[in-house]
């Protein structure tokens, strides 16, 4: 009991360094959830680009063109400074800039079109291609009307009326989306919380539990405990018990944070599966921490380990960047890492339809196998060290 209490006290004393990662985690989860909360996935919505229109003509036609672009995209204001335009296009805060030069309407009336409209966009931009083709189409319609004998006012009105014609788009056909629309309100927001979980739990455990284990692995401390009345088995039981209690505290903290952040969406079956998956990954993180504590001698090395393992697995396995956007070779390599299998389950749970597929259960099983394998490696390391000490 004494060992249990001391170990737990040390763990709790090391908590502030772990809380830093919890703070980062909550901030990321809030920012990402807020950025994605308006995505309506129950019906089709056209992508709207951010378009800046610099109107130097201020005529009926230029206003009509501006209104048309505004009906399809978001009009943003931008200063008339080309250096600022470059910055805005580079950072994609503006997708497309249309400059309507002076004399535009007069030019169109006189059938002289050259250099009246100029566009600026990032090279090979998908978004700008859509805006450009829409604006060209609108101008074709206006010019067709003008050539057919309509006045400028009538042509603008005709082109605006024609622009109202839209094809019917249905969001259907893919089973997964039908499932999504049923389960999504709860799953959509909470999935961001669990997506970033691997990074934070790994760094948190290495920096708190790892530093405590390193202190307990010091030969002098081990020797002192060995000569005391406490048996080796009781010592280990105390440490394992304290680790278990600490894990429960961590789970409670995460549960409270999750309930506070997603109180309306928390109590669903999907959350239960998310929690189960997170619990399995926590076991992986515990075994990784245990191994690192056996390999490291210095406390200061832990932040290095946590950054190397935490960042690399998170970047490679789709925690920080969606797996769809990762290169195929990276995805293939990441299958060798437990985080890949964790993300496998969270990805499926985003489209949760009431049950977990066999693939997800296999992914959970593979995580448990990883945890067991890493723990076995740790025990081998301990055994080898003991053998060396005995030989010495």
């Amino acid at each position: 009991m004494q060992i249990y209490k001391t170990f737990l006290k040390m763990l709790i004393r090391n908590m502030p360094s772990g809380m830093l990662y919890l703070g980062i985690f909550i901030s990321i989860a809030i920012v990402v959830a807020n950025n994605n909360q308006n995505n309506d996935i129950s019906s089709f919505t056209s992508s709207r680009a951010d378009v800046a229109v610099i109107d130097n003509d201020n005529t009926e036609l230029s206003e009509a063109l501006k209104d048309y672009i505004g009906s399809c995209h978001n009009i943003v204001n931008i200063s008339d400074d080309k250096e600022k335009w470059t910055d805005e296009l580079f950072y994609r805060t503006v997708d497309y800039i249309l400059v309507i030069n002076k004399g535009f309407e007069d030019g169109v009336t006189g059938r002289s079109y050259a250099d009246k409209l100029e566009s600026y966009s990032a090279p090979d931009s998908n978004t700008s291609y859509i805006v450009q083709s829409q604006a060209e189409s609108y101008m074709q319609n206006v010019c067709a009307c003008l050539d057919s004998g309509y006045s400028m006012e009538e042509s603008c009105k005709k082109a605006a009326d024609i622009a109202q014609i839209q094809v019917n788009v249905t969001l259907s056909g893919a089973d997964k989306n039908e499932d999504v629309s049923d389960a999504m309100p709860a799953v959509n927001t909470i999935s961001y919380f669990f997506t970033f979980f691997p990074y934070v739990i790994l760094c948190l455990l290495i920096n708190t539990l790892g530093s405590t284990l390193i202190v307990w692995n010091k030969p002098e401390l081990k020797a002192r405990t060995a000569v005391s009345g406490t048996s080796f088995a009781a010592r280990n039981a105390g440490i394992v018990g304290a680790m278990f209690t600490f894990s429960c505290i961590i789970i409670m903290i995460f549960t409270v944070v999750c309930v506070v952040m997603y109180k309306d969406d928390f109590f669903t079956k999907a959350t239960l599966y998310f929690g189960l998956n997170a619990l399995c990954y926590m076991l992986v993180s515990l075994s990784v921490t245990f191994l690192i504590a056996q390999l490291s001698k210095k406390l200061s090395a832990l932040s290095i380990w946590s950054n190397i393992i935490g960042l690399s697995t998170s970047f490679l396995c789709g925690v920080f960047v969606t797996r769809d956007l990762l290169p195929d070779k990276v995805v293939a390599f990441s299958k060798c890492l437990p985080t890949y299998w964790y993300i496998n389950v969270t990805e499926e749970l985003k489209y949760y339809n009431g049950s977990l597929s066999s693939n997800s259960w296999i992914s959970i099983g593979i995580q448990l196998l990883f945890a067991a394998a890493i723990m076995v490696i740790s025990l081998v390391v301990i055994k080898n060290r003991q053998r060396k000490q005995e030989m010495a």
């Binding site: 995505n39 089709f44 056209s46 992508s47 470059t86 910055d87 805005e88 296009l89 580079f90 950072y91 805060t93 079109y113 050259a114 409209l117 100029e118 600026y120 966009s121 090979d124 931009s125 998908n126 978004t127 291609y129 859509i130 450009q132 604006a135 060209e136 189409s137 074709q140 319609n141 010019c143 067709a144 050539d147 057919s148 004998g149 005709k158 622009a163 014609i165 094809v167 019917n168 788009v169 249905t170 969001l171 259907s172 056909g173 893919a174 089973d175 997964k176 989306n177 200061s300 090395a301 290095i304 950054n307 190397i308 998170s314 970047f315 960047v321 956007l325 990762l326 290169p327 990276v330």
Partner: protein, 378 residues
Amino acid sequence: MFGHLYKYRLKSLLRMKEDVFWCLGFPIILCTCFFAAFSGISDKTNNFHSIPVAVVYEKENAIFKATINAVSKSDTQGEEFLNVTETDSASAKALLNDDKVDAIIYVDDDISMAVAASGLNQTAVQSFLNEFEQKSALISDIIKENPDKLVSLIGNIFSSRTYISEQKLTDSPMDEMSVYYFSLIGMAALFGGFLGCSVARQMQPNITPEGMRKSTAPVKRHTMIAAEFLAAYTLQLISMAILLFYMICVLRINLGNEAGYVALTCAAGSLVGIASGIFVGSLPIKEGMQIAIFLVYSLGSSFLSGLMVHPIKIWIEKSMPIINRINPATLIQDSLYSLVIYNTHERFFTNIITLAVISVILCTLSYLMTRRKSYANL
């Protein structure tokens, strides 16, 4: 004496493995992670690729067929606009389910479309279909009123005339992901401050045993400071050179074609990094607090330059531009950015001069904090 001090300080700094890790190892690891994660993003999200669609003809429509054949063969921005698969309804749904196509186009009396999700490709297909329907409606409307205008109308609508001329602001590919690498170089330069911090701390007799020993040595204070500073700066420059070599030669990251200016940016950035570290290390506080202050400063500065969220620089520019003018990581990032984007060096040199001024201010403050200190006992 200077050479001796410089040589041994350099050797001892090389043995400080943690500081060397933060200056060199961590930026290289982070850079590799960025490369693994971001190398496919620009191509997948920004650049134009043919859109796979399935077309289901429930009723023959020769004009639509001709139009769709034209856009699936014509060369728009290097690739055809649509990659069309003509099939029946069931197969089309299967293709959509398997993510083999982005949309199904149903051709009946009206044209309609089914998609599995909202997105840019789906919007592009929708826009194309809208255009077709709008043009059809326009032609039939005008012909009803002015049948004699048919020839000029068709000529107008199907002409290859373009009304909008596309202009270029820069020859750069404008890869927004490169901001992360620029910010990472800024962070790596500032992380040189870990060396500066250790150097300054180990010169303070009231904080470290090394400082006590040094204070009793028969060496002029300014000679010692210069040797220590230069040793840290040398090691930081070597770290930056290795990082740049790794980025340019191994990962093939585009940092522009002006290697000399890139090196100048790293040198100026490293100077600020070391100067910041020396300033923090000179503060009369405990080691743990010094490291915490330096971490908050260096990571905060890197965050504001776009290391974690790349458009943050432009958000700050709109609300509090003064931060971008004085934040060291932003200045380093902006120098590299301006080299890649702009043809002139005006903005680049403004940033470099500002970095030099910041370094001078920090070194002066550090000197004022540490000079003429004497201790009754240690």
